[in-house]
């Protein structure tokens, strides 16, 4: 084999420098802040004090777990229906699905809040139907609903992509070999779309465990998720050290969940859309 030329060797250099400065170094700063106190001395205090945040960890995990599951239960059939539609309507459905993904999360969350607010359209409608006055904002249901609403398209898109890539002959074969619809779904389609599911689950789970805007607006500030706690440490009180410790633990937590999730997917390649 030929020796690498100077050009080939140097091509990657700017990127390596950039990664070292702005990817590795910031993470080292997080670690540094997580393990030091105000005077810069080494301490485990920050990590140990996280025990008082255990409730926050459990709640965040629980909320995002439920949101992810519901997204999957709603999104999988939706992706299936979409992939079964005619070619022409598929283009329209694609636009309909992509549009919410392109609209800022802030706008969509805020508009959902405006809709669900006491005296908003939904509660006005329900009271007119004769229901009792209901409160949505400030309940855990509203926060989870916000997560589902905001991240559902991110679940549907990768699943839909892997469904359209599915070779139709597999389905025909399954049909010929005597599978009924449900059997085809569970034995053929579901396993073959696993990579799409894994990437969809990742794309819903990670943002919903770290969100702070959704819980601020829809939870009325009464549900303190991991994102809220971190945001408050950095934007309101100058306790970077606790904030860094929470970020570090959250990062590790997410990496573990991703590793577990990847156990489900047989294929080596990750589909990232």
């Amino acid at each position: 084999m030929k020796k690498q030329s100077v050009f080939e060797r140097l091509a990657n250099a700017p990127h390596l420098v950039w990664s070292a400065l702005f990817i590795i170094a910031p993470l080292l700063f997080v670690v540094y802040f997580a393990f030091t106190d105000r005077d810069g001395g080494f301490t485990l205090e920050n990590i140990l004090s996280l025990s008082s945040y255990s409730g926050t960890f459990v709640m965040s995990l629980g909320f995002s777990l439920i949101a992810t599951t519901v997204c999957f239960l709603i999104g999988y059939p939706l992706a299936y229906c979409m992939s079964r539609a005619s070619e022409k309507s598929r283009t329209i459905l694609m636009v309909l699905l992509m549009l919410p993904m392109w609209i800022s999360l802030l706008i969509r969350t805020y508009s959902l809040m405006a809709l669900l607010d006491n005296g908003g359209l939904v509660s006005t409608f329900l009271t007119r139907l004769g229901f009792q006055k209901l409160t949505f904002i400030g309940t855990e249901g509203a926060v989870i609903l916000g997560m589902i609403y905001d991240f559902l398209p991110y679940m549907v898109l990768p699943i839909y992509t892997s469904m359209t890539k599915l070779d139709k002959r597999y389905l025909e074969a399954a049909n010929d070999l005597g599978c009924n619809g449900w059997q085809t779904l569970f034995k053929v389609i579901l396993p073959l779309t696993t990579p799409g599911i894994v990437s969809g689950v990742t794309m819903v789970f990670v943002p919903s465990i770290s969100t702070f805007y959704i819980s601020q607006k829809l939870g009325g500030g009464s549900f303190d998720l991991l994102g809220d706690t971190i945001e408050r440490q950095f934007q309101n009180a100058v306790t970077y050290h606790t904030g860094a410790a929470i970020s570090l633990v959250m990062m590790i937590l997410i990496l573990i969940s991703l590793a577990v999730m990847n156990k489900f997917s047989d294929s080596e390649e990750d589909i990232i859309v």
């Binding site: 990127h15 702005f22 910031p26 700063f29 540094y32 800022s104 405006a114 971190i230």
Partner: protein, 277 residues
């Protein structure tokens, strides 16, 4: 079954769109209420265009998106080239994994880590007022990089190695080979990386929230600030305009897409016929 699936799709899309539709409809509401529509008026649109803050935020957003996506594309394209040429497999894997970190990490962690870096370095160097345009540019370029590499690298891997070798044999220097042979081949990947970073940067709120300063506010930060205080109804007008711009873009892209598809199919058919003849 067919009816059921149609009904299901309609229902989900209705729920997905209901809040957005409410914003659009009530941005034309003269009375500034979200529950009661009084009269049709363009009042809030007029207010919006009088709001210098919103317009300067839009300007900042566009500037940042353009510069950061161009930076990321240049660095990322060369990086992808370098990675694809690296000899040792573990080196390739290591570099790729590191560059993917901002993509895998939750945004808030990326934002916080960047902020700690900037504030930490500033306190070592005794600088004040470090956050602003530059930190935003660095942060946006950083989170754009993996997307560029991800869309360019496969192109390098798909490329026929013998083309490069032929160019080298015919006397091109490696740099000439890169610009004359490889670059044209990977252009679609480069452009898709550029576009993706452009839209990501335009849309980013969480990372910007941590590394920005008040003198350089982007559109998402402006919207956040609005919703954290008293929401003026001109914000609904702004959202409506944004939604329509995105809608038109998406439709245009898809229409252009299907037109080209048809052309391509025709060509293929003609080619097949010609081949048979």
């Amino acid at each position: 079954m067919k009816f059921l699936s149609r009904f299901y799709m309609a229902l989900i899309f209705f729920i997905l769109y209901a809040p957005i539709l409410v914003v659009i409809v009530f941005s034309f509401n003269g009375s500034g209420s979200l529950s009661h529509f009084s009269d049709f008026s363009l009042h809030w649109y007029r207010e919006l265009f009088r709001d210098g803050e919103a317009l300067s935020a839009l300007k900042n957003s566009l500037f940042l998106a353009v510069t950061s996506s161009v930076f990321a594309t240049v660095i990322g394209t060369f990086a992808a080239f370098g990675i694809s040429r690296a000899k040792r497999r573990y080196y390739q894997v290591a570099v790729e994994t590191v560059s993917k970190i901002p993509m895998m990490n939750p945004d808030i962690v990326t934002g916080v880590s960047m902020m700690l870096l900037f504030v930490g370095v500033a306190s070592i160097l005794k600088l004040s007022n470090v956050l602003g345009l530059w930190t935003m540019l660095i942060a946006h370029t950083t989170f754009n990089l993996p997307y560029v590499i991800l869309s360019v690298l496969p192109k390098f891997r798909q490329m026929d190695k013998s083309l490069t070798e032929a160019a080298l044999d015919l006397g091109c220097t490696p740099a000439q080979t890169f610009f004359r042979v490889e670059l044209p081949f990977i252009v679609p990947g480069v452009i898709s990386g550029l576009m993706m970073s452009f839209t990501l940067s335009l849309d980013d709120f969480v990372i910007s929230h941590f590394v920005s300063s008040p003198d350089f506010k982007t559109l998402p930060l402006y919207i956040y600030n609005q919703t954290a205080h008293e929401v003026k109804f001109s914000m609904y007008a702004l959202c409506t305009l944004l939604i329509f711009v995105i809608l038109i873009l998406l439709i245009a892209v898809n229409l252009a897409g299907s037109a080209e598809d048809r052309k391509l199919r025709k060509k293929n058919r003609a080619g097949a016929k010609g081949g048979r003849g």
